[in-house]
Symmetry: D5
Amino acid sequence: MSDNIYQNLTMLGGDTKQPASPEEAVLERVPNPQADVNYAVRFTAPEFTSLCPMTGQPDFAHLVIDYVPGDWLVESKSLKLFLTSFRNHGAFHEDCSVTVARRLIDTLEPRWLRLGGYWYPRGGIPIDIFYQTGEVPAGVWVPDQGVSTYRGRG
Amino acid sequence: MSDNIYQNLTMLGGDTKQPASPEEAVLERVPNPQADVNYAVRFTAPEFTSLCPMTGQPDFAHLVIDYVPGDWLVESKSLKLFLTSFRNHGAFHEDCSVTVARRLIDTLEPRWLRLGGYWYPRGGIPIDIFYQTGEVPAGVWVPDQGVSTYRGRG
Amino acid sequence: MSDNIYQNLTMLGGDTKQPASPEEAVLERVPNPQADVNYAVRFTAPEFTSLCPMTGQPDFAHLVIDYVPGDWLVESKSLKLFLTSFRNHGAFHEDCSVTVARRLIDTLEPRWLRLGGYWYPRGGIPIDIFYQTGEVPAGVWVPDQGVSTYRGRG
Amino acid sequence: MSDNIYQNLTMLGGDTKQPASPEEAVLERVPNPQADVNYAVRFTAPEFTSLCPMTGQPDFAHLVIDYVPGDWLVESKSLKLFLTSFRNHGAFHEDCSVTVARRLIDTLEPRWLRLGGYWYPRGGIPIDIFYQTGEVPAGVWVPDQGVSTYRGRG
Amino acid sequence: MSDNIYQNLTMLGGDTKQPASPEEAVLERVPNPQADVNYAVRFTAPEFTSLCPMTGQPDFAHLVIDYVPGDWLVESKSLKLFLTSFRNHGAFHEDCSVTVARRLIDTLEPRWLRLGGYWYPRGGIPIDIFYQTGEVPAGVWVPDQGVSTYRGRG
Amino acid sequence: MSDNIYQNLTMLGGDTKQPASPEEAVLERVPNPQADVNYAVRFTAPEFTSLCPMTGQPDFAHLVIDYVPGDWLVESKSLKLFLTSFRNHGAFHEDCSVTVARRLIDTLEPRWLRLGGYWYPRGGIPIDIFYQTGEVPAGVWVPDQGVSTYRGRG
Amino acid sequence: MSDNIYQNLTMLGGDTKQPASPEEAVLERVPNPQADVNYAVRFTAPEFTSLCPMTGQPDFAHLVIDYVPGDWLVESKSLKLFLTSFRNHGAFHEDCSVTVARRLIDTLEPRWLRLGGYWYPRGGIPIDIFYQTGEVPAGVWVPDQGVSTYRGRG
Amino acid sequence: MSDNIYQNLTMLGGDTKQPASPEEAVLERVPNPQADVNYAVRFTAPEFTSLCPMTGQPDFAHLVIDYVPGDWLVESKSLKLFLTSFRNHGAFHEDCSVTVARRLIDTLEPRWLRLGGYWYPRGGIPIDIFYQTGEVPAGVWVPDQGVSTYRGRG
Amino acid sequence: MSDNIYQNLTMLGGDTKQPASPEEAVLERVPNPQADVNYAVRFTAPEFTSLCPMTGQPDFAHLVIDYVPGDWLVESKSLKLFLTSFRNHGAFHEDCSVTVARRLIDTLEPRWLRLGGYWYPRGGIPIDIFYQTGEVPAGVWVPDQGVSTYRGRG
Amino acid sequence: MSDNIYQNLTMLGGDTKQPASPEEAVLERVPNPQADVNYAVRFTAPEFTSLCPMTGQPDFAHLVIDYVPGDWLVESKSLKLFLTSFRNHGAFHEDCSVTVARRLIDTLEPRWLRLGGYWYPRGGIPIDIFYQTGEVPAGVWVPDQGVSTYRGRG
Ligand SMILES: [Ca+2]
Ligand SMILES: [Ca+2]
Ligand SMILES: [Ca+2]
Ligand SMILES: [Ca+2]
Ligand SMILES: [Ca+2]
Ligand SMILES: [Ca+2]
Ligand SMILES: [Ca+2]
Ligand SMILES: [Ca+2]
Ligand SMILES: [Ca+2]
Ligand SMILES: [Ca+2]
Ligand SMILES: [Ca+2]
Ligand SMILES: [Ca+2]
Ligand SMILES: [Ca+2]
Ligand SMILES: [Ca+2]
Ligand SMILES: [Ca+2]
Ligand SMILES: [Ca+2]
């Protein structure tokens, strides 16, 4: 096993303060203990919320993040705090979704990353955002995210 | 069989004009060919639309109507035209749903009637309306309408 | 076991001719081998079709029949032929559904019977018929038929 | 129709400021246009979030509210703002869910009210809260809320 | 704990021979370690098969058995062998289902027992059998068996 | 963030009048704040309705639109008004669906666009329309729209 | 719009007689109003029935037809009458399904066509038929038909 | 609010040691902040595991616990530790499920309690246990636990 | 039509004896009436059972067979008898599944064949077998078999 | 058939002791009886549990393993014991999932292997791991694992 990979982390197990904005949030990373092979990691975050920059009212999204790690894994508690840091942040759906992805890319330098942002409906019409850094690397398996399309009622 | 029950109808098979409002719409009825027993009839109308009286924007609903006929059955084409007549009609959800039920009750004098109105979300929060004329008559079977509660995303 | 209960049947295993109408169809019955207790039997017939008496076009229904046998069970092949005999028969949904139930009641003299007729949509609005002979007998268990309400699209 | 029931409202269509806490939030009510009959109204609010009073971290819930109005309906925009006002409010699951119900009861004086609070899992074990003011009034129909029990994975 | 309740069993852990018929099969019972309270036990057996007594061809069923034990629990391995013993046994659906229930009742003398037999379709029409010994005892909870009604195709 | 991209819009937040026809409707666009990468945007519009040009009766559809923006995003309120403008417009299913797609293409000049139109059944047979401007651009991820095929009843 | 494309049709709106066999049925076609682009059209027909040529007993199928029109669209009422014309026609599953497809190909000269025939079980084993004229044309999108595999019971 | 109800707890937020057996585990309780009304609380624990007392091999269960608190609520972290304490404990399904319920009853003295234990299959036949302390108290609402019956394959 | 293709069959309609083993079973074939095109045929057999060669206890599987016929179709009654012939046959899952496929290949000389064997769990871990003769032939459409992965409980 | 392939096994049918750690566990293999063709085998193990190396608290996962055997099959009882051996083993999700795969690869030398690890949520965000040894071998069929993405509540 590889439990020493976590020795330099600042947040795990301690009394971490909730960051007030995405800018304040610190994404931490740990060495990938299986870096000699390609595999994909999925995080499913159904508890994402931000604010509408026009009206200030809350928006909600279900986010699914897939990535193929290179040298680094994201530390999961710092990921949670980073996602939570959008709680008082104003952002449009298209922009916000891609921004989350880009922060992860900057920190992790993954071999590949995909983000699906499934937003709750506004005006009866939800928006979903599908972003990835390009083709899935050859020989890697990433199943469909499988989040249902919005269906209204009935 | 009992096909002569339809002989006095004005709409079936003819060139019926679409009524411009619920007031113009005529609900027709035919004799109940099985009036000596109690049974329930369900109509499912997933294509209902009206207008918001405050903003003029369209509202949509999935309606399910259950009734136990007495002497009369509703003629199905006239029911469709009646429901369609709300297309340019302003109505709040609570009021509109109960109003549809009451028109049917006035016309059919059923032994019992239930209406479920499952409205599409506005502001992220859909409204459902559940109305019935009282307890299901003794010995009658009416299964649940089984329309899913709204679940947002994920 | 009780396999001699089938000895007087005319149809089972033989070359039965398809009856041309419900009137021609013969419902056969066999002695209930467990008549000293109350239990329920469900037949699910998703392949029912008849004709619209107004237009002559085919109608389709999914039928579910529950009954608590008394002295008799319905012989299943004769039930199938009886249901098939509506293929060229004109009938309205409400009337046809209750008629099927009544023929079974006449033949079987059951302690109780329920019929659900779930018709395919016409004009975008399907009709379901729910009939039973009265309250479920005390101490008998009959689960919900569980046929989904029509939901349109999406 | 009954559109004058909304004439005294302060929030509908205007530039409403988001209340900072449940205490600041004002639940508004309008006359029930169908007060002579009993019917039930369901609001489904899958976008509820509050804070854990021990850790300050966000909690999420899916709320479903059913009520049988008496003289008053809740005005839906004020309901939304009231629910949103818990965003920066610390509350335990059991207490918070019942508190939401009680505020609605105080404002609406309904004939009956039910609230289901379906919280997202913490420590792998979600909590659901089921509250109602007593038996459903006689003759009123309220279908199951039908929110799935948490199932883990697989 | 109560592991000595199994000390007199003949089958558990040993080299049990498969019984050739229901008559040869021995249902074993163990003392109910919680006999001072009422609770229900459900066994779900989706691997049941017998033979059609008319044609000799295999029939298949999904069985669900609920019971409220009195002094005895059924020993689960003997239950499995008992159900398997129908593999070469000719039996009609109605009779076979009730017979399984009766053997359990004879052996266990339960406070209450229910059996649902969900048979695979023959001639396009499956048969389900619903048997119980009478009303569920007061204060006992037994959820629906929840086996889907057959739906054909589509 | 990029909230100034909305500064030239005419409709957002104001008192927009509902356009009477698709011709009157104005689709607005805003600069794509993430134009340096390829990503896909999905709008799900389950509240679409138009008129049958032969009979004048309402038709209903569930629309799902996917596109890969180039320099422009569609402004979501103008999209809603555009879709609503078909409410009194006569159109056949095949033609109407492709026409909606083409208006979006003309306005947005996207890198790629796909439209699925899932129409409610007429005569028991629904029509679905699947249109896209060609292959999904290399390296872009667009999950299946996942709208269920119509299944009739049962 | 393009409503004059229907001017030469013989059946639409008139009193069309039901054809007695597939040979008598006339498939009509109308000009494709969007012939300059490739798109797919799906018809879902869950109400198909024919006869078994060996036993004369009814067979049922759920049909899904996808095609990419060239110069012609199928007129939907004539399609319905054509499918209904198999009602008294004897046909094996494999042969019948492909025959339906071939008649459409002959009439429409489509760029591509696919037919899925999902037959109800006989002898406990349903047959599904999957036919297409070859690879989906480059750049065209046709989602999976998504009809569930038969699952028996449980 | 009522956050001081947690002031005497020993485990929350601290470094709690995992108890080695159910006997060592300490269930903690906190005052019910809404004790003047009846409501139900549901815990869903899909991560339960114990050992088979005959073979020593792991067993798994999905547990759902509903209760109507009186003066006390269970503290959720101590509940988790209590459930985890069965990890190395030998227990038969019937006995173990009821034992979990009884410990909660002893600690909480609830107005009512229900436990559903849904065990993973052994020998192809899963066991479910349904226990409650008697009828649901008058006026209290507890929805079905809604855990699917085991279905085998297909 | 092509009903003379069945003229040389020995089993259809006659009194066929159940073969005692796979070796005794005779797979019959009939000429492919649509041999000039490529299409796929799916058989779904949820009623498969064999014996464990180590313990002699019954095993169960849900089989799905897809093939692209060349000159021959399998005769469906002989297929049923062949599958039933495994009832008293000892076979491991991997070996048995591939063996079924190979017998079909030997008899039918199909252009391509695929078999999915979905076995019921033993020891809590089911085995599925996926076999095909190679790539699906170019231009042929075979949808996913869509049998759910085993999910345990919850 | 090929039942002699199991003759050298040490565990099957005997009194196997549960290994205390993955290091102690012995994966056994048997000759592949169908080694001349390529096929895939799926094991679904919804009962996997290990310990968090930071907190010592149990983690749970649903594992699905697909492989294309070469000369060897894994012996299923030894696979079960190997998976169970993680019960008291500390391991992070990413590392543990890939480690399970690698042990199987070392033992079986398969032509290809895929492992999906679907972990229960911690902190509201579950992790899934998707690993395979590279592209699926040409001509081999492996359907999607089809484990649902986590969806939170609602
Ligand atoms: Ca390592
Ligand atoms: Ca909305
Ligand atoms: Ca008897
Ligand atoms: Ca809908
Ligand atoms: Ca009024
Ligand atoms: Ca959690
Ligand atoms: Ca005890
Ligand atoms: Ca229709
Ligand atoms: Ca159907
Ligand atoms: Ca045109
Ligand atoms: Ca059948
Ligand atoms: Ca099954
Ligand atoms: Ca098992
Ligand atoms: Ca031919
Ligand atoms: Ca599970
Ligand atoms: Ca949700």
